[in-house]
Amino acid sequence: MKQKTRLNLAWLMLIPVFVFWACAQTETAQQLNQAIGPEQAMVPAQLAEAGAEQDEHPDVEFTESCYDCHREETPEVAELWHNSMHGVVNVGCFVCHGDGTTEFVVRPTTERCIACHSPKEVDFSNTEASSCFSCHNGHTLKFHNE
């Protein structure tokens, strides 16, 4: 636990470096983003992902279901989910994101998808994708945001 804290502190030290890069290379970063899609290569997101040991859900009372609360708190996202295939077949928020207390994952990994979608298991080495979410939107699940 101590080690984790130290590492997180270390990441704070890295921020100025990234700020430097971000400023110096705005143009090229944009080019990169355009070239390989906005979901990838976003440096700040990458920083968040690599640095986070365990995501934390806001401390709420958890007396109602994820969806019931998020319908009010984040209606856009809740709506996207509701109209997606996951919404239609009732694969709820908690399946991908955890329950919010014992487990919480902001950006679910491919392994989580495969548990239910094993036929869709992809050998990414021959593709340009690194995870299911390289191509599928996390909430609408649509391919390339069609």
Binding site: S65, V88, V89, N90, F94, T102, H117, S118, A129
Partner: protein, 750 residues
């Protein structure tokens, strides 16, 4: 790889990930590197029978994923299955035997606990006779476990007081299949779902209760929007998301709708006259009637009449009948909304009627397919003979020949088997309540939560000498126990499950049982030995030995499984009986040419021969339309119906241990229609009291346009709010299945 190399690889991977490239590992390599091995198994939850790959590492189950080789789920899992592996090590697992001493359950040794059970059972049998003891099993136990218990209780102790929870869920479907087709279990299979162009879903919330099959239906609908999905259900459910038409009757008044559909099918000429001529008889339930007399009977059931009875739109009935009749294929699916009714068997008959009249049975895309609620209700209990009136291999206790055949396999004198059926579930627990049954062995189920009208039964269960073999504690039932025996859970034991579509599937033992838990089969064999019947059980060294003996009971029967020994089941993704030989692929449609038991000589060119009936003809029934046992009235103006949510399974002993599932639906509630709520001044999340003639319950109101007006819905998962304190224990006179789905209630704001 040294540490420096490792750090470099990690850094490179992170870079790769940022541009959408996986640099090093394929998933399978990642598994191997992590030390995970994958094993083919079956899901522990509902009756769909999803194939599951179980990941094991260092003697622990660490993960599951859908088995993509499985024809049932093709790799998909629902949210319950996804979290199943977490249940194995749940805090609520019972880890050692316990005995009640001075009113408290205390830890005991296996020897002490088993000695107590044997002594007490022996004492009761010797003093009061064998019918003073009883067994209550489960559609979640393995076939092997139910078989051993059956052999012990019916064959050696000599009592037919042997029931199981499938009585509460599938008995009416059994009654329907037996009376209509002459043989239990569906004619077709899941394959028909992929070819059906009309789905009629009656009293089934498929989306939440059989999610993986619902996925299959959604996939069909997405690929071909022209297919029609018709729902008959008093409550809108998530299944409606794909529905083309929802007929929402008053709970308990849907029989007339099915008759009205049949009438339109006959009137407008959607019948298959050739099929009717060859393969159908008509009956009023007492005697054979003619086709003409049946048509006469239907005359009463105009769409307007049915619409009035059920308070629905007559045009919808006409539309549903035309879609069903005009489509070349149709599958009907149903579950508890049809079965848990005082006229459950009749309703089953009426569904089969539609398929028989139109000949939409026994061919691709056509079936009347009863969805089962438990993973082994079909396999262990219906096929294994785990109820008070049946014996293994679809045999009946009252049939002397059947008793003789089973006695021979059990190596007991035929006189050991009582020729009189035992007490069905409600009668059995009534006998417990009256003190007539003095010792009860409960295996793998939770009747103190799942029986209807609980108040009537709880005291008796507390007073009786109650032995509970379960993997979990506390449950409502274990709290009442005198002896608790810790049972091995899924993946801690091997055995066979048989699902909805007649498919038997093998589950391996992958890890050692938690704590001192033992395989239920082993516990029962131990009990048999201590009761002095060891000789006929000592050859059961492994579950496979039990399965091999069980197979003998299926030989030559309609559910012949001789072609499904362990070695084959370990290789294949299950087999659909009849499968008489090890080179037989299993059967997709019964009673047709593809069925190995199809008697070509008798069929004489007919497409189907229902060999369960003496003349090979299935029966279309002219059953009267009858309402529920307890209609609503001025004092109790609401119809109360109970049911389930996707994330939980039955009494929550499993799903309640998974935080993610608990979070999804955190607590009990009652659904009420917004119009009713407005009239009564009830707002969403108000505390309300639901009252029936049997009990009352304080619940949070969920004001939602799901139940129709004058209908309340309460999910029954939560032990802190026992929905079954409210339900009625009236039961179907044929199937003895209680009417959980309808009783009269009132609701007041607290």
């Amino acid at each position: 790889m040294d540490r420096r190399e490792f750090l470099k690889a990690t850094a490179a991977s992170a870079a790769a990930a940022s541009i959408g490239v996986d640099l090093f590992l394929k998933p399978s390599q990642a598994d191997a590197a992590a030390g995970v091995t994958w094993h083919k198994s079956v899901c522990r939850f509902c009756g769909v029978g999803c194939g599951m790959m179980v990941g094991v590492k260092d003697g622990k189950v660490v993960s599951v994923k859908g088995d993509k080789e499985s024809t049932v789920n093709r790799g998909f899992l629902c949210v319950k299955g996804f979290y199943l592996y977490k249940v194995i090590t749940a805090k609520s697992r019972l880890r050692y035997p316990m005995i009640r001493k001075n009113g408290k359950l205390v830890r005991a040794s296996w020897d002490e606990a088993m000695d107590l059970v044997a002594t007490k059972f022996r004492e009761v049998i010797d003093r009061y006779g064998p019918d003073a003891v009883a067994f209550y099993g489960s559609g979640q136990a393995e076939t092997e476990e139910t078989y051993i218990a059956n052999k012990l209780f019916k064959g050696h102790i000599g009592t037919n007081n042997f029931e199981g929870n499938p009585r509460l869920c599938m008995a009416s479907a059994v009654g329907g299949y037996l009376t209509t087709f002459g043989a239990d279990e569906p004619v077709g299979s899941y394959d028909d779902l992929d070819e059906a162009e009309v789905f009629l879903i009656v009293g089934s919330n498929t989306a939440e209760c059989h999610p993986v099959l619902f996925d299959r239906i959604v996939e069909r609908k997405t690929k071909d929007p022209h297919i029609k999905i018709i729902i008959i259900d008093p409550r809108k459910t998530p299944t409606d998301r794909v529905a083309d038409l929802h007929i929402q009757p008053i709970p308990g008044y849907d029989l007339a709708i099915l008759h009205a559909m049949a009438r339109i099918i006959v009137k407008e000429g959607y019948t298959d006259e050739q099929f009717i001529k060859e393969s159908v008889n008509f009956s009023d339930g007492k005697k054979k009637i003619s086709y003409e007399e049946y048509k006469q009977f239907l005359e009463k059931f105009t769409p307007e009449y049915a619409a009035k009875v059920a308070d629905v739109n007559p045009d919808d009935i006409v539309k549903a009948a035309r879609w069903f009749g005009q489509s070349p294929t149709a599958v009907t699916l149903w579950t508890m909304g049809v079965n848990q009714r005082t006229r459950g068997v009749w309703l089953n008959n009426l569904i089969h009627n539609l398929h028989l009249l139109t000949g939409k049975i026994g061919k691709p895309g056509c079936d009347s397919l009863s969805l089962t609620g438990q993973p082994n209700a079909c396999g262990g209990v219906r096929e294994g003979g785990g109820l008070a009136h049946i014996l293994p291999g679809h045999r009946k206790i009252v049939n002397p020949q059947h008793r003789k055949e089973i006695a021979a396999i059990w190596k007991v004198p035929v006189s050991n088997i009582n020729p009189k059926p035992g007490k069905h579930t409600i009668a059995l627990f009534e006998a417990v309540a009256k003190g007539e049954i003095k010792a009860l062995y409960v295996m793998c189920t939770n009747p103190a939560q799942s029986l209807p009208n609980l108040k009537k039964f709880l005291k008796g269960m507390k007073d009786v000498f109650l032995v509970v073999a379960d993997a979990f504690h506390p449950t409502e039932t274990t709290k009442l126990a005198d002896v608790l025996l810790p049972a091995a859970f899924w993946s801690e034991k091997e055995g066979v499950y048989g699902c909805t579509e007649r498919r038997s599937q093998y589950m391996p033992k992958l890890v050692e049982p938690l704590g001192e838990a033992r395989w239920d089969g082993d516990i029962l064999i131990d009990l048999a030995r201590r009761l002095g019947y060891g000789k006929n059980f000592e050859h059961f060294k492994t579950p496979e030995d039990v399965w091999n003996e069980y197979l003998l009971t299926t030989k030559g029967r309609d559910m012949d499984l001789m072609g499904a020994p362990y070695w084959r089941l370990k290789k294949v993704r299950g087999l659909r009986w009849p499968v008489p030989t090890t080179d037989h692929p299993g059967t997709r449609h019964r009673f047709t040419e593809g069925d190995p038991l199809f008697p070509k000589d008798k069929a004489k060119g007919r497409r189907m021969y229902f060999y369960g009936k003496p003349d090979g003809r299935a029966v279309v029934f002219a059953r009267p339309d009858k309402g529920p046992e307890e209609p609503t009235d001025a004092e109790y103006p609401f119809a109360l119906t109970t049911g389930r949510v996707l994330e939980h399974f039955h009494t929550m002993t499993m799903t309640g241990t998974v935080p993610q599932l608990v979070r999804a639906v955190p607590g009990p509630y009652v659904e009420i229609n917004p119009k009713d709520a407005a009239r009564l001044g009830i707002a969403d999340r108000d505390t309300v009291k639901v009252i029936t003639r049997r009990g009352e319950l304080e619940l949070t109101a969920r004001v939602i346009d799901r139940p129709r007006e004058k209908t309340l819905f309460v999910p029954w998962h939560w032990s802190e709010k026992l929905a079954n304190l409210l339900t009625i224990d009236a039961f179907d006179p044929g199937s003895k299945e209680p009417e959980y789905k309808v009783c009269a209630a009132k609701i007041v704001k607290v």
